[in-house]
Symmetry: C2
Subunit: 256 residues, 2 copies
DNA sequence: ACTTTTTTATTGTGATATGGAAATTATGTC
DNA sequence: GACATAATTTCCATATCACAATAAAAAAGT
């Protein structure tokens, strides 16, 4: 672990659970000397990545907000998906939240949301920037189904009960069958796994090499109307996901 | 400039104007060797701060989105302002966009927005994460008015024409008078300086030490209705800004 | 004005960052 | 599928600079 990694480990201390750090606490957590930690904090502070709203107490700073705007405007996946998602949102019969998720560190992160129809008052579990497991929720499950079998096998070993609880079955054979079913259907539908009373639908997104890299999802209220429209909703999502996959197939060439 | 600073300078290469970098380009821009740049890119990549959607071409990564969520949820200024802004947005007669801005590197950055009434179809120049000058727009001007005279004097020297164009007057004497007027009024009102046809209103926010640290702003359509309601709108913003300033006066003590 | 805390500067030493080249791996092409 | 090219990592000798402990300064609190 070199200086760069230690500096970034310092930045990584700042989490939702522990958003605020003093130099002393950071030093003892990372097993660094206080003077070294001061040096790191100063560098991060100069870069605007952290700031001290009160003396000695540091939190993430404005540079984060600035960088995030860049991601919203320039990230290739978001750029490819946004117009298609907006189109979905505009010609959307029932109130819905559209989600763009991506695989990140064996978890799933929502990176873009698009609101369709009248606003849902309650927020959706797939909140932008939040990390969720690979096995709960439609947008996660359809990604898991696309990952290599050897990876999923190990994953299943570590999450046996949780996976059984969301319908993957009790053992590897059963899980394998569930995943194969999801993969061949090309779509996942879940009922209230993350948000009670909500219905999730998601289709996979593939990178140019053909690996799953994320998913396009939709969350609607689980009621008679949506149940009746389900086949149509599934087709819409699947078709839109395929369009996004085609759009990102051109990533090898320089972006316009 | 030490290793940490060079690493962060590498991260800082990724801007809205140049969102995508190769190792070679970064190396030549920063005057580093290619192998060192590879090392930096690897560290940033391992931290999730950058990713390569296509081989050799790096862009900002998911860690940024994750960190930004933390800011939205945990930043003390946003935490203090959000409930008050939401309240404003909810009991808001005319369609409006409320802005929370903060001083950052001699510029102004919007860090939170709150929508009031029916949606404005056009976006507002004060977009979250975007840096704007200190002299254009109500939310900026009211901050500039609170900064130390010696700073503003130098600033005016470097931005003479621009400041004259937005009503600060042609020379330092006149500018000083305009700023004094803003400061004593405790509010700034501008007409279409950033968004044509829009009216901006903003009041300053002070840190516990009594220095301006940002502003609370509101953008509405500039029409007969809003012109008529202007005194009320100004009072609302001023009063809400004072409430936020009081809320952040308690920052010395640990957050709950 | 005083005490306490936070932050920066100093310094000699030893760890390690550095850059060039080679080796390896991935990618694209025919 | 073999070849060519590009991307990335590894290796290594050298000098640099990061490190930690202390001191000094600055800032904050009382």
């Amino acid at each position: 672990m070199n200086t760069s990694d230690k500096l970034l480990a310092t930045l990584a201390l700042f989490t939702t659970e522990e958003p605020e750090w003093t130099v002393e606490d950071a030093a003892s957590r990372l097993d660094l000397s206080v003077s070294t930690t001061y040096r790191y904090f100063r560098s991060l502070n100069d870069a605007g990545l952290i700031v001290a709203p009160a003396t000695g107490r540091y939190v993430l700073g404005p540079a984060i907000v600035q960088l995030d705007r860049q991601v919203r405007l320039r990230d290739p996946l978001i750029k490819a998906a946004r117009p298609i998602m907006r189109e979905l949102a505009e010609r959307c019969a029932v109130p819905a939240m559209f989600l763009l998720c991506r695989l990140y560190r064996n978890q799933v992160m929502c990176v873009h949301q698009e609101q369709g129809g009248t606003l849902l008052d309650s927020d959706v579990a797939y909140e932008r920037g939040r990390l969720l497991t690979l096995h709960r929720g439609a947008a996660s499950k359809i990604i898991l189904a696309g990952l290599p079998a050897r990876f999923v096998r190990g994953y299943q070993g570590r999450n046996r009960e949780d996976m059984a609880a969301v319908g993957f079955g009790p053992d590897w054979e059963e899980v394998k069958r569930s995943l194969r079913q999801l993969r061949s259907a090309g779509i996942s539908v879940t009922y209230g796994e993350l948000d009670p009373g909500m219905l999730g639908i998601a289709a996979p997104l593939f990178d140019p090499a053909g690996n799953v890299m994320g998913s396009l999802g939709k969350v609607v209220e689980d009621n008679a109307e949506t149940t009746q429209a389900l086949p149509q909703l599934k087709d819409d999502i699947r078709e839109a996901a395929e369009r996004i996959t085609r759009a990102i197939a051109t990533w090898q060439a320089p972006q316009p």
